[in-house]
């Protein structure tokens, strides 16, 4: 277990190899082997470490490794006197991080393997670059997960943001891709702004940045039920960071755009791992959050609102990846809802199951896109079931899982969340259930539009259909022979993930269904300050029967969603359009994603740019001009001084400058060359002094 630091470092080495040497010298195979090999090694280590962790008694499952000093101790004032600002490179393995490293390395490895085939048509340097980024991402993600202090986590936090930026903009020659990358990074930075301030406040309050130490200290502070105390402020700031990273309202806008990246990237980063970092972070600081009930409430509300809003937008999207993206946003909202109502374990559980089925769905969509020659619009697909059965089957499983169909993983985790929400607030529960229904609807809308109905895509050589379209995409540099099943390297990960999506839920079968909710008990130590201490808020309980009733309701709603999708897209495909016409207003709002992007663009982006240009003008015109005016410089560039004259009014310095310049000419003008005027000046001097002495002394 002392070698856990190797878990992130291995992919890091892979990234370095591929980045420094690979781009120039590796052929595709080598690059792929390096990347997958390091990931596999990392997975292996994770498994061993996890096994060792399991081998420990429940309340001792905490292991910290300090690799090196990072920032050596520097004295600094804190709220409690002079503290010592000190950050080591330290890693923590506990149940929560243990689960996470498994998810990251496991799904990471699968996606690496998948990418080997998916990215095959890329040129060699780009191929190596891709794997370099992917490995780098895993490095940072594992750092984030394993880091035992806030700052180490922040390193991973920012690092995954960077990788996300790089991978979204992987096809940098596409304007939209590089735009999306930039947007992701900058929006994330806004979140990071809150996060880092939260970290500062943590240090200021506790004098340490170690999660464990902070949790222990925080546990001894009173719960801030009545008002916003310092803990609430910390949590709020941290949550701002989580909002950015996990794409919650109002900072969710980057995630749908991030779909510009290659699909494996979407699967790994924007579904399975990175975007859940916010949830993970909140879970990491469960003790802090549970001392700030008001913030918890905010977390829950934002999570819920995001879940609903994203689900509604997902209803009308036509881009296959965007549907999945909004679905991700929505599911993340669920996770926050869970943490917000205090069900940290449920949130983490859903995080894990979601990682499986969402990665599966993305990879499946990637497979479809691959098959359709980079076509992403569902309206141009249809009837693919016959061409790619494996993809169809696995995606179907994924959709069932996310829709919450019983006995699949999503069912268990989602119902746990809904149950806990119900305990917390019934209104929340109702809304969450509605969102779940919408999820089912749009997921099956996706399945139906893609795999059922008629084939609506472009024609291929020798194939049927005659409405050939010109493709801008240069991805298809080889002739396209119609939709086809993806190669083995892609389907195997799909199958593995599908198995996962089915089985992952069984680690957390609720008691109502006769399970023991193993995952919850396993994770519990990570959410309390002292192992063995009981979890909070376990007071309210429902009978198993009521719990089963709730499950039934949510299953019913999900079934309703699926049915509606079936009716609208299989039975009567025209209904969709009818509805769209009938509710034209709402439909437009939804297709335009509530105009949030436009709103942000008009306010923040444009505002900033206008401000920036204005300041520049100010800088060039006034501040600079003011200085230019100071005579000496003016003469050097008469042209500039000419322009300057217009700015003379602006400020005293400017005036001084002008006086200075004119003064020089003035003094010269006095120098008339006439001797008598010179003598006159002398006389003036004498007169002035005499008068001064006469009057003043």
């Amino acid at each position: 277990m002392d070698l856990i630091w190797l878990i992130p470092v291995l992919p890091g080495i892979g990234a370095a190899l591929n980045g420094l040497v690979g781009v120039r010298y590796f052929d595709k195979r080598t690059a792929a082997y390096v990347a997958c090999g390091t990931m596999a090694a990392s997975l292996l280590l994770s498994l061993v470490a996890f096994a060792q962790l399991l081998g420990l008694p429940g309340d001792e499952r905490f292991h910290q490794v300090t690799v090196a000093e990072w920032i050596p101790p520097i004295p600094l004032e804190t709220a409690g006197g002079i503290g010592s600002f000190e950050v080591p490179w330290a890693f923590t393995l506990d149940p929560l991080s243990g689960m996470m490293i498994l998810v990251v390395t496991g799904i990471g490895l699968l996606i690496h393997v998948y990418s080997v085939a998916y990215m095959d048509h890329e040129p060699r340097p780009a191929y190596a670059r891709f794997f370099c980024y992917l490995n780098l991402f895993c490095f940072f993600m594992l750092l984030l997960v394993l880091g035992s202090t806030f700052l180490v986590m922040f390193v991973g936090w920012e690092g995954v943001g960077l990788c996300s930026y790089l991978l979204i903009g992987f096809w940098y020659h596409k304007q939209s891709a590089s735009d999306a990358g930039k947007k992701a990074f900058i929006v994330n930075r806004i979140g990071d702004w809150g996060f880092i301030l939260g970290i500062f406040l943590v240090f200021f309050t506790f004098g340490t940045l170690d999660f464990h130490a902070v949790a222990e200290l925080a546990a001894e502070m009173p719960v801030e039920a009545a008002g916003m105390g310092v803990l609430s402020l910390i949590c709020l700031l941290l949550f701002v960071g989580a909002i950015g990273k996990s794409a919650q309202i109002p900072l969710y806008v980057w995630l749908p755009d991030a779909m510009e990246g290659p699909t494996p990237v979407s699967a790994l980063i924007h579904a399975a791992t990175m975007v859940t970092a916010g949830v993970y972070m909140v879970g990491r600081n469960a003790v802090l959050f549970s001392h700030a009930p008001m913030v918890m409430e905010i977390v829950a509300i934002i999570g819920l609102a995001t879940a609903i809003m994203a689900a509604t937008i997902g209803l009308v999207q036509t881009d296959i990846k965007r549907v999945l993206a909004y679905s991700t946003v929505s599911q993340l909202g669920y996770m926050f809802l869970a943490t917000g109502v205090g069900a940290f374990a449920a949130g983490a559980f859903h995080l894990m199951t979601h990682a499986f089925f969402k990665a599966l769905l993305f990879l499946g969509s990637g497979s479809v896109i691959h098959a359709m020659n980079e076509e992403q619009d569902m309206r141009r697909m249809g009837g693919l079931k016959q061409y790619m059965p494996v993809t169809y089957a696995t995606m179907g499983i994924g959709a069932l899982a996310i829709a919450g169909v019983p006995l699949l993983s999503g069912f268990f985790s989602k119902d746990e969340i809904l149950y806990r929400t119900f305990l917390h607030n019934r209104l929340f529960w109702m809304l969450a259930v509605v969102a779940a229904g919408m999820t089912a609807f749009y997921m099956f809308r996706l399945i139906f539009m893609t795999f059922y109905q008629e084939y609506r895509g472009p024609a291929w050589e020798g194939g049927h259909g005659d409405h050939g379209e010109h493709h801008e995409d240069d991805g298809g540099d080889h002739a396209w022979h119609g939709p086809h099943e993806s190669p083995r390297l892609m389907t195997v990960p799909l199958i593995v993930l599908a198995v996962g999506a089915v089985l992952a839920g069984y680690v957390g079968v609720p008691a109502a269904l006769g399970g023991s909710n193993a995952i919850e008990h396993f994770l519990e130590p990570s959410f309390v300050a002292h192992a063995g201490e009981g979890a909070h808020g376990e007071a309210a309980h429902l009978s198993h029967l009521a719990e089963l009733g709730l499950m039934a309701i949510s299953v019913l709603i999900a079934g309703l969603g699926i049915f509606l999708a079936y009716r609208n897209y299989i039975q009567r495909p025209e209904t969709a359009d009818e509805w769209a016409e009938r509710y034209a207003g709402p439909h437009r709002v939804l297709t335009n994603k509530y105009y949030v992007d436009e709103l942000y663009d008009a306010t923040f982006v444009r505002g900033t740019m206008v401000g920036a240009r204005g300041l520049w003008g100010f800088d060039g015109g006034v501040v600079d001009g003011a200085v230019n005016g100071t005579g000496w410089t003016t003469v050097a560039s008469s042209r500039i001084s000419h322009v300057l004259d217009k700015h003379v009014v602006d400020g005293l310095v400017n005036l001084v400058g002008w006086v200075c310049q004119e003064g020089s000419y003035g003094f010269r003008r006095v120098q008339t060359g006439l001797i008598q005027n010179y003598a006159f000046a002398t006389l003036v001097g004498v007169f002035a002094f005499v008068t001064w002495f006469l009057v003043g002394r």
């Binding site: 006159f680 006389l683 007169f687």
Partner: protein, 176 residues
Amino acid sequence: MLEAAVFYTLAVLILGLGILVISARSAVHSVLFLVVNFLLVAILYVTLSAQFVAVIQVLVYAGGIVVLYLFVVMLVSLKRAPEQHADTRRLGVTGAVLAGAVLLEVIGIVVSGAARSDAPAGARGAGVPEAISDPMLNTEQIGWVLYTEYLIPFEVASMLLLVAMIGAIVLAKKNL
């Protein structure tokens, strides 16, 4: 009484001639007024019992310098009226007014100073011989002071005159 009469007469004449010097149209007239002025000043010196200075005044100024002036005025045979061309930027009149103001100030200061302590409280320099009203003694005294106490400046003055001489030659000679 007589002293006052003499002084006022001389003062009026000196100032009047001074004004004539600076206001005469022709340079030649100016020079002539200047000679008379110098002579009157010499008389003034006599009334102040500075006979030696008076003699020098007559010899050097009236005899030497003015002749030089006259000589130059003649030499500079004017082909056009010297004051024809006037530069408009010249502050002549303003200057005259300002000079008048300075004069008022100076006289004011002198008068006020005199009013406070009716004579400047001068301390006589140590070892400086007293001036004696006897004309012969005055000359002797001055000679004594000049050749003992002020010997070095006197020598320097001789160099100064040599410089002036050489300079005048250098400047005035046509092809040197």
